[in-house]
Symmetry: C2
Subunit: 190 residues, 2 copies
DNA sequence: ACCTGAACACCGTTCAAGT
DNA sequence: ACCTGAACACCGTTCAAGT
């Protein structure tokens, strides 16, 4: 969000990621390494000192996205009442995906998660761990005891990921607006 | 699937789509117009006689994908027993996404659905209609009568789309293999 | 160690021209 | 009507060279 003039020397890596995250949402087009370098005021090949190739840079953006994502999910899951925590976590998830659709798409694309596995996986596991924890607490309080916690967690993750994609890409039928998030989650939450 | 030698004259549009669908799954890299034209044996700009630009071609591929997808979904939903139909439809959905991951991703990406709205939307609506029909029959037979049919359909679609994405991109935690599809759907189907 | 300049092969797209 | 050839601006990437 902040713009500075003290880049270009020793902080290029940070500058690339910051500008990359900014451009990701603003420019609808694919993120170009050359355009990114140009907007920072550096030569077209300067990024190669910090990233092996374009994919690795995209992976770093995805990793930063997963980091912020995990922060949001973990906090939302700390709601004391078990079922309220599940719903709060779900709404936080959908909010994140809606507010940063390009970043979310990158995170869960082959250019994101798969290409910087180590960094992305660690943060994704942190978010998924919060989800499993919330599900476990709900299960202990008597919610859907007929299913394994891990299966319940995967099913909930699938609902959230799927709905984030469908609503983000405006694939839902007309008449179904964001207002129905609550209703939708209720189907799963019973 | 079939390879012919009678292309290049009058059938270029068909040839581009056929070869495009083939390359989509084989080449992991992004589909290039020039490479596609070259593999058909035509000049780099010949496709522009049939498609306004690359996006329109991708949209046509997505539309063909949605057509095949709808066929599969509609057939799977014709299973007589209501709950069995829902499960059959879900498994057909996940099968399609797993067997043609690149096509599925394209269909539900901004380059697919959004760019050739008319053709894609018609076929997507056909598939979604089959889903709504199957849900309606289940609802009439006493399944989850507490929720609106449309809400149930959206929730099921979200589960399927989400799981297709997570398993297609191998984002699920280790130890959760394809064998758990049935278990996962059971959570929703109760 | 970090960046620049020049170069390569590739890409989407356009325009004039051929048949 | 359908395709080719040549050209433009752009891209990822590499390599030699500068500081």
């Amino acid at each position: 969000m902040t713009t500075r003039e003290t880049y270009h020397h020793g902080d290029l890596r940070t500058a690339l990621i910051a500008e990359g995250l900014r451009r990701l949402e603003s420019a609808g087009t694919d993120l170009s390494l050359r355009a990114l370098a140009k907007s920072i005021g550096v030569s077209p090949n300067a990024p190669y000192r910090h990233f092996a190739n374009r994919s690795k840079l995209m992976g770093a953006l995805a990793a930063e996205g997963f980091h912020r994502f995990a922060d949001v999910i973990v906090v939302a899951g700390q709601e004391p009442k078990p079922l309220a925590a599940l719903k709060s976590l779900g709404l936080a998830y959908l909010d994140f995906a809606q507010n940063q659709p390009a970043l979310y798409r990158l995170m869960f694309s082959p250019y994101g998660y798969s290409l910087d596995s180590s960094a992305c996986k660690a943060e994704a596991d942190r978010a998924f761990g919060a989800l499993v924890g919330a599900i476990a607490r709900a299960s202990e309080s008597g919610w859907k005891t007929g299913h394994a916690v891990l299966t319940l967690a995967l099913a909930y993750w699938a609902v959230l990921h799927g709905w984030a994609g469908l609503s983000g890409d405006r694939l839902m039928p007309p008449g179904v607006a964001e207002a129905s998030w609550g209703d939708l989650l209720e189907v799963y939450l019973v």
